[in-house]
């Protein structure tokens, strides 16, 4: 850039400077600041939601969720890659779908993993559940679908009547026995551990329990706490604490069409942010953008003493 470096035209005077001292002063200042902030304001720690708490507080929502897991209409059941071969949540831009290309890498069968396998444990000690489970698993798919639909209607009726659950005996044959049993197991804390366990002893992967509560369970909490995408939620923290303010631009797109209304919104936004991030990294070489400092003229304030001479 023409005349870009002032040192071409004028040699600056040198001033004594203590780099290490300045670094130590900066470190001390920040350390004092964070200790004071920590002592005065502490930090947020909203207790995690257990499946037990969810089942107790929202039994009808729980039953609707597990019915969706069983009959394949639930969000995770119909999600698609990486969990299964459905396509309900698979995002694409035209023919480009990295999600589909990545494939099913974390197989989750919601009917088996979230409903039938936990119930098979209960069936060992509860004859009524064992009978219903046997009846369900040996029935034809069309018969299973009929029971599921009937139980779904019973749930809708209970919701309209403001009841926490369909009054027994619930419609839906064995489904009307199995799902309330699952609810009861969840309410005594049995489902949290069962969903986490696998054939291994040590488990640090919470994929199954988190997917289980990923619908209304956590969604209701998120809405209450202003953490939803359309509430600028990515930027927010629980309670009156600052959140990730630096995510303002990423969060902003989720408030405006077409991003906020498109089923491919996440992919569109990640693409836009990816492009902008590349632009940010390569700012020095982007024509126009690299001229902005001259246009803004803030440098004239920062170096005003230099320019005054």
């Amino acid at each position: 850039m023409k005349g870009e470096l002032a040192s071409d035209t004028r040699k600056p005077r040198m001033k004594p400077y203590d780099l290490v001292r300045e670094a130590l002063l900066a470190l001390t200042a920040v350390a004092v600041l964070v200790v004071v902030l920590a002592a005065v304001f502490s930090s947020p720690d909203e207790p995690s939601l257990t499946i037990r708490a969810y089942a107790i507080s929202s039994p009808l929502s729980f039953l609707q969720t597990v019915l969706g897991d069983l009959d394949g209409t639930g969000t995770i059941a119909s999600y698609g890659a990486p969990y299964n071969n459905a396509s309900g949540s698979v995002q694409a831009i035209g023919p480009f779908s990295a999600q589909r290309w990545a494939g099913v890498r974390i197989p989750v069968d919601t009917a088996t993993d979230f409903v039938l396998r936990p119930l098979s444990v209960v069936a060992q000690v509860e004859p009524a559940v064992a009978t219903a489970l046997g009846q369900f698993e040996h029935a034809a798919p069309s018969e299973q679908a009929g029971w599921e639909a009937a139980y779904g209607k019973a749930l809708d009726a209970a919701a309209k009547a403001g009841l926490p659950a369909p009054a027994p005996p619930a419609a839906g044959g064995p489904v009307g026995v199995l799902l309330p049993a699952l609810l009861h197991v969840a309410q005594v804390g049995g489902l949290d551990g069962v969903l986490l366990a696998s054939h291994r002893f040590y488990v640090t992967d919470y994929t199954h329990p988190l997917l289980f509560i990923s619908g209304d369970a956590l969604g209701a909490q998120a809405q209450r706490l202003h953490l939803l995408g359309n509430q600028w939620g990515m930027m927010n923290e629980t309670g009156n604490y600052p959140g990730a303010v630096w995510l303002w631009l990423y969060t902003l797109w989720y408030q405006v069409p077409p991003f906020s209304t498109s089923p491919n919104g996440d992919l569109l936004i990640m693409t836009v942010m990816g492009i902008l991030t590349v632009g940010f990294v390569l700012t020095p070489w982007i024509p126009g953008v690299n001229r902005l400092p001259r246009v803004l003229r803030l440098y004239r304030l920062i170096w005003r003493d230099w320019y005054r001479r």
């Binding site: 400077y17 300045e22 930027m235 629980t238 309670g239 959140g243």
Partner: protein
């Protein structure tokens, strides 16, 4: 858990928590101050004077 609901400000499309708004405001104030204020002549970078200053 009732205390977890944040105070927020709604202005058209924008909904921002009070805490975040404070942080943003503080950023602009501190940046403006950083630009506007001058470093003290000898203290911040040189440390206590030991009989010497620039040019001596």
């Amino acid at each position: 858990m009732a205390g977890a609901v944040p105070h927020y400000v709604q202005w058209g499309l924008v909904s921002i928590t009070v805490a975040n708004l404070l942080v943003l405001g503080l950023m602009m104030v501190v940046f403006a101050a950083g630009v506007a204020l001058r470093l003290p002549e000898h203290q911040a970078t040189c440390g206590p004077r030991r009989g010497g200053g620039p040019g001596e």
